[in-house]
């Protein structure tokens, strides 16, 4: 493995995880807020979401493999062993996380704040926006958690992506590969890069958070 390949692997890791986390945040956060302000079935829904959070990635990977395989129901999409297939897997994996964390972010707002918002706004969409504004730091953390999960996950992407060199090999699956091949040194270097990627994501979030709080 040379520097160019390491760069390629890191780039693909970022692209897959950022895309998946962006999709799951854009969908999961509004969904979470919606569930949190429901009166009916709120508990049942959040129970379902919390259960989905614990889905073992390998199980999701297997199900997606069967779905996306050419002979599976979604085979015509040709997504198996492609980066897009991996994005789908990471999106599905992180969707319950953003949703679940958004629910608890809204639920943990001070009671007065929630009541005030409920009494103020009439349109539900507007209510949701105000609630999201109050909980923005926790919602940001929800997105970051989803991103961290997508970056560090291996079980599902290795099944759906196939760990194809130069095509679907990301940092975690590369670590698996080099460990299997007995090239522990390369595997450790990849681990260091993974840690570095994660550190820089955290730094970005820290900066954004500081800016939000100051405002």
């Amino acid at each position: 493995m040379d520097a160019a390949e390491l760069l390629l692997i890191t780039g693909l890791t970022l692209r897959v995880s950022l895309t998946a986390a962006a999709f799951s945040s854009a969908l999961g956060i509004p969904l979470g807020i919606l569930i949190a302000i429901r009166r009916k079935y709120r508990r049942a829904l959040s129970l379902a979401v919390n259960t989905a959070m614990g889905t073992p990635p390998v199980l999701l990977g297997l199900l997606l493999y069967l779905l996306l395989s050419r002979q599976g129901p979604l085979g015509f999409l040709g997504l198996l062993f492609t980066p897009e297939g991996m994005i789908l897997s990471q999106f599905l994996l992180t969707l319950p996380i953003t949703t679940g964390l958004a629910i608890s972010a809204i639920e943990s707002l001070p009671r007065e704040t929630r009541e005030l918002i409920e009494s103020l706004a009439t349109r539900p969409a507007f209510k949701m926006l105000l609630l999201a504004n109050e909980a923005k730091t926790q919602l940001l953390a929800a997105s970051l958690t989803a991103l961290a999960r997508a970056v560090s996950e291996v079980g599902s992407v290795i099944i759906v992506g196939g760990n194809i060199r130069f095509h679907t090999r990301v940092l975690t699956t590369a670590i698996v590969y080099y460990t299997n091949a007995g090239e522990f040194e390369a595997a450790l270097w990849l681990g260091a890069v993974l840690a570095l990627v994660y550190l820089s994501l955290n730094v970005v979030v820290l900066v954004v958070r500081a800016a939000v709080v100051r405002e």
């Binding site: 945040s25 854009a26 507007f126 105000l130 194809i164 130069f166």
Partner: protein
Amino acid sequence: MFRVSSSRVKILLVALPAALLLSAFILLHHTPSGGGSKILRIATTTSLDATGLLGVLKHEFEKRNPGVSVTWVALGTGQALEVARRGDADLVLTHDRPLEDEFIKQGYGVHGVSFACNEFVVVGPPEDPAGVSGARDVLEVFRRIFEAGERGEAVFVSRGDKSGTHLRELRIWSETGVDPRGRPWYMETGQGMAQTLMVADQLRGYTLVDSSTYTKFKERVGLRVLFRGDARLLNVYRAILVNPELFPWVNHQLAFEFTRFLVSLEGQRIVAEYEIGGVRPFQACFGKLGELGVHDPYEEEQVAYWLSKLREKT
């Protein structure tokens, strides 16, 4: 803390998810979506990948065919054939004849042809507690390991993953008439050859390994080759094209081109001259199975087919 919302907050909160979605879509479509027909997808056995031979073949093939991209998923033989059975690969490179014959007979594979071979060897700790190094044939080797295992003096580490190596090991066990499965000294790793070798090394156990993988790792493990040379240990790698009539989406053209390259003089030369650490782990064996003691009418038929295709090209 709570402010009645300004329009700014409203804009921000609408803009943020929108921006997220937008960036996600941009990232999603950023893919250089390789025009399907230029990518060959191989389901291969791990040893061809782990030894680096496939990497060299890829490089040479891509050099001769600009714009083409050879990709592969490295799996055990059983799993690789399973991937191909679902139409998710264009070509398989595997090493278990009975499984391959079944794959071909069921109509999933066409024009299977052997292109490389080497041997399996029995490796174990240098002190050889089961005393296998003096055995007559591999059946006796396995029986001695079984007996030593029962006495608590030896450990056997198995792949346990339906790979070509694992299937070969199981066939040898069944020929000896003893069944090691479930015995406390019989360990199944369920992992690749390299990892199984490492486990065997740590446990000071015996294992069956293809000579190419062993060659690559022999500096790093304390295991020694204790038995080799039985005809039952011949390891033949075969390329099989996935049937395009069954799966119209497979890249039959590229699978054909790559296989023709494998059996061509150049391809065979690359296989034979590939070196790791001063050792050549593979032998070129297109059209030579008869000499090695394998008599298979199907193979002869396919050798004739590929020879005619090679002549057409020149």
